[in-house]
Symmetry: D2
Subunit: 391 residues, 4 copies
């Protein structure tokens, strides 16, 4: 029941900057939490919005020094590169069409890049960026976050170890329903840029989530795509990019596959699912139930590997923080108790009145718990007689 | 798709100390991650072990100033209370029998306490501590972490709103198998103190996990226990505390219940499950699948609420960070990409050779993804003809 | 993929009579289908109701010779016992209080008895009946039907083979919600007699479904109950028998258990679930998902046995008709096609007009299916070009 | 809790013949059980094998009059057509290539046909048969049995009622693993003819199970296929028909779909799954869990309809025999008790010694059950004191 990495001697935190991720943004906050979780990064600079005012306000919210909160990413790159203790890495969390220009500005100054996916909005700029990044020698991480799940690491390890035999089939799907109606026409910010070819690129659902599905299948199987045949649709009237895609795939090894991505699959929230079938066994993983990996060996009962449980190997352990049976929301649940307590503590600090909505267990619950144990022991000693809590 | 609290103007972080949680400990690291997740605490002091040497080493691992890393919790309480910028709150993550002595030392100095559960090892000291804490006026949070789950908040809200009608039945269970064999006899540290009545208290499974189950049922239902009848067992030869407990419960409202806690339930990892049945509807929640709450109304189809999804209310939203469909492990998966990138960045900083085990998506994957979208669009425009990736 | 028993040389069918099970009854029809499924019984006589008129009408519905449709079970027993080709066995599907009188009448004449559960309404008559039945030497089968499920046979076999080790814990529950409201007060026939102590016996939920749960646990574990402690409730105002029961159990072997039965568990339909935990492994079976048996060995991944699948043994195979992966509703689905076709055929026989609600696949669907295959093959031969169905 | 059709006045049973389905066959026995379940057919004639000897032996097993057990289906058709009480309907359960010749022989004599799927092995004979059958005016039923499931009827009804809105997407799959290895090369009878193009037709997996998937999607949606693009594979070396197929589909309405069929999907038993997404809601049904239909309305919680449960409508009720919560294996479990009792009764009839493997509950279990209820009531009246069973 070890917490990975929590007790190894720690180097000083990596100085991190961020481009994008201001007020109203979604993925920027996810990146910040991700950076904080293992205490290896410190957010010290940012250009959080193309609006100077919004960038400053967002920086203040986040506790970033106003002198290192910038109105332009180019200025930020220049200024930080000149500092002795300037940022070592930048997280890019802008819409897709801005990934390449921002990344180029930083990597040419030797600053490592952590960039949201997809890499760019067009293939031309992707190639240009890839070339420049390689030349620069910086670390370039693309947050195809699903490859970070322990049971996906486990799956990839099993494929590499030959536990599935030769891979024959890949079935991968990523289906949501949040674009089943034309919400981009009524100003929903996330929908707005994701359905605008100028900002998101030529692919809609294909680019936004199809790339995740494709990447995940590649990561686990290690296969190389040879060719594909695709049928893309825009079901919602007036939509300018695809909102559903059907793809048949042929891999160089002779394996075959199907990929389905959709943002109009009514009733599905975030259904990313991968199935891989080899000559010896098949596996199944679903993002909505990520702590499990199902394994179906030919001619033997189907079994379920759990993150960190029996049969789960080194690749999964490497990225596991908490014991099996505690699905990964455990940390968030725990953090909620800390967050609620923080609200109470800050109210005391300010002398403000308590907020009735703040909810966390305290002395009453603690006392009840100990009294419960005491009562159980007393009752059991009396052969199960009914006893009351001694409170 | 908002990230709770991430963009509200933030007060300076709460200065936090920790007692316990040194190298080899489990729950201390969980507390630290929980404190870090929303960036509202800063760990600035600690007494991480009763061994001075181990406390210093652990503090160094964690980046805590050696001058604020203490060999004794009493000394820590005195020293920090004297500082102008001393800790405002202390997290106590020691074995159960040390909760009371440590808490008393800090709270009498006006330092807020966040204490692991159960409150104490004995009822006598629980009562003493409760009285002292109330007198002191500090914030006292007990990490019954399961009350922090969004769908548990949702469940409690539904009970309060009368959506279940009058509560008739509570069925709650918390069953594990990690003590199915006498592992305390071969030195497993976690098992060692948890099966020692002097450190854990009179209840074994009852105290360690039965209290969680009891607390969870109380939290959701708001009921008050009137009496209980218990049958506790120690199935493993030589075990000094119960490793399984059966409890029948009667609540003051007339509701009835059963509670089962076990650490010898072979094949179960961490099976905490709550079911509550009222005159109008029943609900079910399982810790191993925490993003869902099942609702069974009398005479209508059973439905599934998801964290943040349609029908999920304000109480859950308050403690929700990420959108529906992204189970809470999403943040950990994301953080794993950041952690892997950090390893690469730190290797560059040190000039050390790359570690082959470090795995994160980068330019190759990014380029492939964009080429995939490009190919999908080209194929679809050619009526689904087979095309190759343009790499 | 064998169909058990379908091809073994068959003896002439067993001549079967029935007591109870007339129009409006539920379980009688289930018994008749069960008797017919393997074609080993022929229903040739009956006393289907205590009302002579209703008995005759029911017999006519069922195609039973009116001369062998009786108004009194005593008369039926006498008359059938005198016939050369009289019934060999009788199925008793009356309310509980009539089981003993009816059974005694037949078994004293050497007629085998298949009796619905529970055996009787009172312990006194149960003992009397058991003694008389043993003395008579007839076959006496009690339809605790859940012991007939293949995966329950599998579970029992595994316990006997020692695959679970020594049994420590039994957790069994049977919970429904159909009596959550006082429906017996508005004339619901099934609820009426089941909540009347004179007809159902002293136990309500305990007798109706608690006995199933208790029997199932005994069947699988082979354990003998030593003692129990029970807390029974009648939650619905005015109800004369228990509608919920909590029971703690101690077995002679030292194993312990809990049993919960309820007919007021809002939102649950027919939730019969058994879990057994031994020193080596735990198992879990749920009646609502009966084709699976979950096995959790200590220290190895949890796996799922399927009826007839890999790892499923001889005891299950003995009572299995169809291949793995075809859950047992397969036969009913198939039968529905036959039943729909029968309606069409009978309409032709009678010259009556076709019934628009009759629905079954026919030539159109058959032609489409073959055209579908033809199109798939043509498209694939053209490298996946789009083709139309050749209809 | 009614049993459909069990109590309606019944016409004399339909006289049924069978072609195919002798010893070693699989689907013939399924047809016979299906015909028997509702007691509307009587098997009175058959040509069970192309081997005269095997046909006779099989007929004897099944209790068919030897004078109506034939060595040739043509002879059977002639002879039965001449009889006054000849068969009214014939069930055809031969390999695919024999469907057309057999059906033609019977239907031209006015005998109704119930034929296993697919209709024929080639499109040419399918068209010929369809024309002849229509001309003859007989009832022709094709056992696409999956359309007989109650929740599939429910799904179709919901589509027709507009509850899904306009259908956009169909995702259907039927995947098994029983042909993952070249078992046809070692004489497995089922695999032998199913992989022989002369007997099975041009499609392998496509014809055997792809047609089921295609038919099911059509049945539920009512859509008409416009065109398809297919990529079929034969993964197993030496296999002469496809064992895996990927198909993209376009419907005339503008809806799109994907179909996957496979007999090499390692670890899957009989995974037939249909998902349909409309503008208002999506639905999901899985053959391995057939009593449930999942409904995901846009912007409302996902809910689960159960066969016969709340919200389940008339179309499902029409083909439902047993109450909600009793999955359809209930009847088979029940029948197993009857079958076991039959073995005991037949042993008595023959004077043969009891078979130790015969297992069914009897007096001991009945007595224990009543004693259990008695003990529960006594304990509860003594406030939950421990009591022993009074046996």
């Amino acid at each position: 029941m070890a917490i990975t990495g929590a007790h190894v001697a720690r180097a000083p935190r990596i100085r991190l900057g961020m481009v994008g991720g201001g007020r109203d943004a979604f993925i920027g906050a996810v990146h910040r939490i991700a950076a904080r979780l293992d205490d290896q990064y410190e957010l010290v600079a940012g250009c959080f919005s193309s609006s100077a005012e919004k960038s400053m306000a967002s920086g203040a919210d986040l506790g970033v020094d106003p002198r290192r909160t910038y109105a332009s990413f180019a200025e930020m790159a220049r200024a930080e590169a000149r500092k002795k203790e300037g940022i070592e890495a930048v997280a890019i969390v802008t819409p897709n069409h801005m990934h390449a220009p921002v990344a180029l500005e930083f990597l040419r100054r030797g600053i490592h890049v952590i960039c949201d996916k997809p890499l760019t909005a067009t293939l031309t700029e992707a190639k240009k960026l890839a070339k420049a990044a390689e030349a620069s020698g910086v670390v370039f991480a693309l947050t195809h976050n699903y490859t970070g799940y322990p049971m996906i690491r486990q799956a990839a390890e099993m494929v590499r170890n030959g536990e599935l035999g030769e891979i024959r089939l890949v079935q991968v799907e990523y289906a949501q329903d949040w674009l089943a109606e034309p919400i981009e026409q009524s100003g929903q910010k996330q929908a707005d840029w994701r359905t605008d070819p100028a900002r998101t690129g030529a692919g809609g659902a294909t680019g936004d989530i199809g790339t995740h599905a494709f990447n995940l299948a590649n990561f686990v199987t290690g296969l190389t795509l040879e060719s594909l045949a695709a049928d893309l649709q825009s079901f919602v009237a007036g939509r300018r990019v695809d909102d559903n895609g059907h793809v048949m795939m042929r891999y160089t090894s002779g394996a075959k596959g199907m990929l389905w991505c959709s943002q109009v699959a009514t009733g599905l929230e975030n259904n990313l699912k991968l199935r891989v079938f080899g000559t010896k066994a098949g596996i199944e993983w679903s993002q909505e139930d990520p702590n499990y990996l199902w394994v179906g060996p030919l001619g033997a009962p189907r079994y379920r590997l759990t993150r960190g449980g029996a049969g789960s190997g080194a690749a999964a352990a490497r990225v596991t923080r908490i014991p099996p049976g505690h699905p990964e929301g455990y940390l968030e649940g725990f953090a909620n108790i800390y967050a609620e307590a923080a609200r109470a503590i800050l109210a005391r600090r300010d002398g403000s009145p308590p907020d009735a909505a703040v909810t966390f267990p305290g002395l009453k619950e603690g006392l009840e718990g100990v009294a419960f144990v005491d009562a159980c022991v007393r009752s059991s000693r009396k052969n199960g007689a009914w006893v009351t809590l001694n409170l």
